[in-house]
């Protein structure tokens, strides 16, 4: 992933959004960040031909209307969007959430740590890993 490729964050908790934004700034990541607060509006964002195509999706699981796993299922069933790597960022340690996510080919499953500092540490690794990886560029 290049340093200017867009990232889509699907997260409803305002504080978690602030945390991620701040952490990205602290690790000096300059990728443009797009935020949608639930699965349905995230799908609308992806469908919209005028919005930029994200190269990486960070996904929370507990969201209203359509939760993370439902969104993931729809995403992976779509021939176009299934190619975007998805990294789950959640508080859930439930085995069944982990299993379902990996059955749906997520590219990572990360448990949000308790402190901000620990979060920054984890995000740095995640970011470095994805900077290292090749991701398909989905042209409109």
């Amino acid at each position: 992933m290049r340093s200017f490729d867009p990232i889509l964050l699907v997260e409803d908790d305002q504080l978690d959004v602030m945390t991620l934004k701040r952490a990205l700034k602290d690790i000096k990541a300059t990728n443009p960040l797009y935020i949608r607060s639930d699965g349905e509006s995230a799908l609308e964002f992806l469908r919209d031909p005028t919005s930029p195509k994200p190269l990486l999706i960070l996904l929370d699981l507990n969201m209203p209307r359509m939760n993370g796993l439902e969104f993931l299922k729809i995403l992976k069933a779509d021939p176009h969007w299934c190619k975007i790597p998805v990294v789950v960022l959640t508080t859930s340690q439930e085995e069944k959430d982990r299993l379902t996510s990996f059955q749906l080919s997520v590219a990572g499953y990360i448990i949000k740590p308790l402190t901000y500092d620990d979060f920054v540490e984890k995000l740095l690794i995640i970011y470095q890993y994805w900077r290292l990886s090749e991701i398909p560029n989905l042209m409109n």
Binding site: L15, T19, R22, T91, Q93, K112, L114, T115, Y116
Partner: protein, 373 residues
């Protein structure tokens, strides 16, 4: 049994046995018996499968296949009604096998069998089976409740902690971003807030820990307390100058190792925490009293006022101002819970500025330790 009518099914290939049984049961005074009869293995299997009787009398000799095989098969199929095996004289090995396979009783046919004996055996078998079934049901209910509690404890700790994450982060961010615009008092307020958040998180962990005691069962094994206590002391790493002495040769007992570890660790940590002198002393020892071992852990610490003696064992009770103490007040509550699970008692003797001695008892185990559920 409805209104004292007891439905009995006899599975026996000998018609004479049927006649004898019928006559005996007719003589019964307390209960009105209704007797049915089948004379072979296959019909017996079918009829028992219908579950329409209150008790089954099963002859050992049954033509094709024997009664014992039928017994084992119907029990494997889930029969939960009492089954009484009828055997001939001298078949004691069969009797033993029958009982081991799940028969409720066995009766020896012939001149020793009487109407009274038959009636009594049936009544007792039915009573016993009912009580067995009730116990199985209770065990299943207990397992279900236990699982519910486990799930609840996880959810509670997980969901209660969620907002805490945010609060701690925000207070750090405010100090970072607006620190130059805050005076010392302002910064102090935020630090206090951060401290309370950490305390809340510790309290939730404490509740979770407390709820696990008694719920999470471990295999019991022979624990050598002499070694265990030494391990605990090494793990705690007491400060220099503090003397810890084990006065007696601590016994071995059968217990859950983790619980014993937790027990001694909490008491020792407590003792160390409340020693205010640089050359404090802690003594550990035991004696035998009335089938119990009585252990003591004494310290030369600050001591406890008599009026607090009961309070300290309650969860979340600490005797020092909240902001000064890191203690969540769960340690002694856990110790008390563990001791009581092992049917022991715990109490304290103390004098202000002299020190305290915690006493607790644990039963001396011969081969099995009985634990209260």
């Amino acid at each position: 049994m409805t209104a004292n009518i007891c439905k009995v099914l006899l599975i026996d290939d000998d018609e004479d046995d049927y006649i004898v049984a019928r006559d005996f049961l007719d003589e019964a005074e307390q209960i009105s018996f209704k007797l049915n009869w089948v004379d072979n293995f296959d019909d017996g299997l079918i009829e028992i499968g219908k579950n329409q009787h209150d008790v089954y009398l099963l002859d050992f000799r049954l033509g094709k296949g024997n009664g014992l095989e039928l017994l084992e098969e119907v029990i494997a199929n889930g029969c939960n009604k009492p089954i009484i095996l009828l055997t001939g004289l001298g078949d004691s090995e069969i009797d033993r096998q029958a009982m081991a396979s799940g028969a409720s009783d066995y009766l020896v046919k012939g001149k020793f069998l009487s109407a009274t004996l038959l009636e009594r055996s049936i009544v007792h078998a039915i009573e016993r089976k009912r009580s067995e079934n009730r116990q199985l049901q209770l065990v299943a209910e207990l397992a279900a409740v236990n699982q519910e509690l486990k799930d609840f404890a996880y959810i509670v700790s997980h969901d209660l902690k969620a907002p805490l994450r945010g609060i701690a982060s925000i207070s750090d961010w405010v100090i970072n971003d607006y620190g130059d615009r805050l005076d010392d008092e302002g910064k102090d307020m935020l630090r206090l807030m951060g401290g309370r958040v950490r305390r809340m998180s510790d309290l939730i962990d404490g509740v979770l820990q407390y709820s696990r005691v008694g719920r999470v069962k471990e295999e019991k094994m022979m624990v050598d307390l002499q070694i265990l206590v030494q391990d605990v002391i090494d793990a705690i790493a007491p400060p220099k100058g503090l003397k810890i002495a084990i006065d007696t040769e601590l016994p071995k007992l059968i217990a859950e190792k983790t619980r014993m570890h937790q027990l001694f660790q909490n008491l020792l940590s407590n003792a160390i925490k409340y020693i205010d002198k640089p050359d404090g002393e802690i003594h550990i020892g035991h004696s035998e009293k009335n089938g119990f071992w009585e252990f003591y852990i004494s310290d030369t610490g600050v001591g406890i006022e008599e009026r607090h003696f009961d309070k300290i064992f309650q969860i979340f009770q600490t005797l020092v101002p909240r902001d000064q103490s890191e203690s969540t007040g769960v340690g002694l509550a856990i110790v008390k819970k563990i001791v009581e699970i092992y049917r022991g008692k715990i109490w304290v003797k103390s004098e202000i500025n002299q020190g305290s001695t915690f006493y607790f008892t644990l039963p001396i185990t011969a081969d099995m330790i009985e634990v209260q559920p």
